[in-house]
Symmetry: D2
Subunit: 294 residues, 4 copies
């Protein structure tokens, strides 16, 4: 018996996406599966691809699908993860973006890799997300989540902020810098890495704190247990609204006196990997470990 009967498909507009959507729908039909497609990409498809397909909102797709396939780049998968983590449905990515650390299936092997997954040839990896809560005078005023990273900074590049960092309630430091990146293992090969953060294996239960252009030369990335509560208190010297970006999207701001709490989200994302997937192979391939030798 197929483990997956109802297959949700979501994604975003972009180069090659339509072609991959079509190819995916044709293939899933050959397997006799129920297809539910996101209403945000319906307009990308001609009627012949839609006649026996249900169209639903993203959230509804999360509820009714056994498997969700995301067609797009890492950004599409990040967005899907934030929406879908609360449902227990596994997610598989078809890469139509630049890098594809999160989207394992390359467009020219859709039938083979998706076929393997449908045949039960896959591995599930749980990835945790972070919750960010901004509090003012002790009251929460905003909440958002992220699969990669939560970044508190000045909102204006090359402009310093000042904050205090607490981990598990313990004072760590008061820092002047461009900001702070709080990264999951999943995010450790994204923005955090370009800021000098360590690569963390996806199965490590840890959070990395990476200072951005710190004015303390001895400040270094810190890695703490994934269950730690991170608190960033915005110092009174900051006079503007500071964006709190989640996976590069700004949904929250904080101001002088506010605290930004970052903790692990209770729900995890279930990522599906074809059996040939290897995290280190991705690193070798995508980070240039094989080619940037001197």
């Amino acid at each position: 018996m197929d483990p997956f009967r109802n297959i949700g498909i979501i994604g975003r507009e972009g180069s090659g996406v339509v072609e991959s959507l079509q190819r995916l729908i044709v293939f899933l039909r050959t397997r006799g599966l129920n297809i539910i497609i996101g209403d945000h990409i319906q307009h990308l498809l001609e009627p012949q691809y839609l006649h026996d397909v249900r169209v639903s909102s993203r959230k509804m797709i999360g509820e009714v699908s056994d498997l969700i396939i995301v067609v797009g780049g890492d950004g599409s998968l990040l967005a899907a993860a934030r929406t879908l983590a609360r449902f227990d449905v596994p997610v598989l990515g078809v890469n139509r973006g630049r890098l594809g650390f999160l989207t394992d299936v390359s467009p020219d092997e859709i039938e083979q890799r998706v076929g393997e997954v449908l045949d039960g040839q896959y591995r599930i990896e749980k990835r945790f997300l972070l919750d960010a809560v901004v509090t003012r005078n002790g009251e929460p005023i905003g909440v958002a989540d992220a699969l990669n990273d939560i970044v508190v900074n000045s909102g204006t590049s090359a402009k310093m902020i000042e904050f205090e960092l607490y981990i598990e309630g313990e004072f760590v430091y008061r820092q002047r810098s461009d900001g702070l990146i709080v990264s999951t293992p999943t995010g450790s090969t994204a923005y955090s890495l370009s800021g000098g953060g360590p690569i963390m294996h996806p199965r490590l239960d840890a959070i990395a704190l990476v200072p951005m252009f710190p004015h303390t030369l001895s400040s270094r990335p810190i890695v703490v247990d994934g269950n730690s509560e991170i608190k960033i208190v915005i110092c009174e010297s900051n006079t503007t609204q500071l964006p709190v970006s989640c996976d590069g999207q700004v949904h929250l701001t904080a101001q002088s006196g506010d605290a930004v709490y970052v903790t692990k989200k209770p729900h995890k994302l279930k990522m599906i990997h074809p059996l040939n997937h290897s995290f280190y192979a991705s690193c070798r391939d995508k980070l240039g470990w094989n080619t940037s030798n001197f």
Copy 2:
């Protein structure tokens, strides 16, 4: 004969500034020198300090002074430098800011250090500035200058830009990153340093190019001859106005297709150092070389 007869004083409001201004005026009077004070700080002083003092605009002060004393932080001296570099007048800084890499005289030794300088006990160090010119369709549309650094970035933190770098007309790379810092030796102990750039001795004739959060892990700071022409071409993938900040101040923006040219300014700033000044002592003191040992 005193080398300096006409002493200009400029600065900015801030903690302790009034006290230092008063102390400085009283001291200069005892030496019988002509004092010209910037009209932007006139309001900080009570009448008794102003009765025999000329008040002028900053530019006029640049023209009529033999020596200019800046009371404030490094930021005040940076601003003064940009205004005054075209005049051939030497500049001395009294430190009322946090760090004071550029402002040698500490407030409690005004009489001693300024006295020494007036007695001819000083060293002059020429510091070069950078000119930034933004061109559109080959025509210049904006010009600004900097003593520390010129930074091209997204204007929004944690947001990538894409540009091509050319040095002396030669293609260097196409890069996606948060931006690029172009730093003088003077700026090498400021923003550039927090971004991983090398410390450059003030007398080195060189420019450092420091990538900000580059998405190429093999991208490193590059140091080139101080007479090199740097050209940064904004790629078509950028859809917003990118700020070009000069010493942290934004006077210019660039957009897709524009080129930002950075070259050494013909006029240099003449900085005056008391004879006890040492660049490496400043590093030991201000960067924590003595204390952050493990």
Copy 3:
């Protein structure tokens, strides 16, 4: 009832050590406790300090003591840890070395802090160690352990080695570099830190792999789960014996074709901290987080 009746004392010769040993013995006598002192430091003490004290080998001390106090530097505590981890006895350090990340009690507060510990005012923190096993043709030829780090390198500075890294049996990369540091959280504020590794909180269950002068610019520190098996295979291009150093001591060597396995040791070190101990306070103090601001 005192939790600790039999107190072992070990250490090493060095500046101030004798004074601290004397002070410690005098204090423990006032508490009426049994004192056992290491035979390697017996010669440091005059007869009056030894008359009611047992003298034993380090190992015997591990077996008969309820608490062991190490007087010396971090190196002394590292050595003690490697000897004592197999016994379940907690260890407290009196700092007579330079840094003291591991030795919490400063010499001038021996009575107060040791007194508090004897009164039950303390916290126990378990620190894991690493086992290194060198195998040749599949057979183990040498074993050693470390609390801080295991380093495989050329034995000659500025000389490259070539190796393959496997984590949990998965190939990571083939690298040319000066070597590789495998660090525990405890070691993350020691050698690993000077090589660009992240700071890891002592309670994090993780291992960091830090390349030394890698000839791949995109090679970065990697952090993996503490239960991972690390395997370093020495490539055929290495023509000399490579030292495998454990906490800076060389007990093992490896040659072309050998594999060095690094895994978590089953026994943990029980470190005792006075209640005023804070890891982040140590970082602020010892790494210069408060002073190296610019």
Copy 4:
């Protein structure tokens, strides 16, 4: 008229070297030039390649040649540079090594590139070398030189040394670290780069000082004018002979109390580049600037 009549050929044994030597000799014969070959590689060639060829020592080749072609890797060119810098003869490299930052001509284009050079289609770039002098009690006890870098360290990896650094007679810092790299611009893409040093353009007149695993987190690479005198004083805490390596070769050692002086060598190496050579293209190609993007 050919600018080059007498062509010296040197090199080292290694993969493909014989083939390139043969091809080069055959080609130079077609141009009717005088060939002088190093006696250290004579044994690599069969008689048919030697009948009309002079065989000489390296030094003699330096005296009698108008152009010297080095067949080998960067190491061969480094060795040649140290021997030949005193003669005013230009040097061209045929790459038979791994990287080839210094050896511009790839083996499969010998006829084309060497032909262009012989036709006068080339650019000469002067590269400076460094002299290292070890003094004891004020007297020089050893001298060596380097094109890439001079490294003072412990000789045993992962072992700290302690030294004082002076630049132009001015005290910079006292440092505990694994050692110090003093690098030319030419060396800035070699060992110095793997230690976090900046890339310096070959025409920059500067020296970089790169600390190796410094125990001061705020210690950073320093770039100073190429005419600066660098002095490294070995502190009394060092109890062993410290190797002073030049381009990775150890010819000198220093001990407690000794000073190592590093200065620019009066003679420069004249490197010949085919006109298609570009330093930044080498960086893109060899450092992976094009491929390690994420």
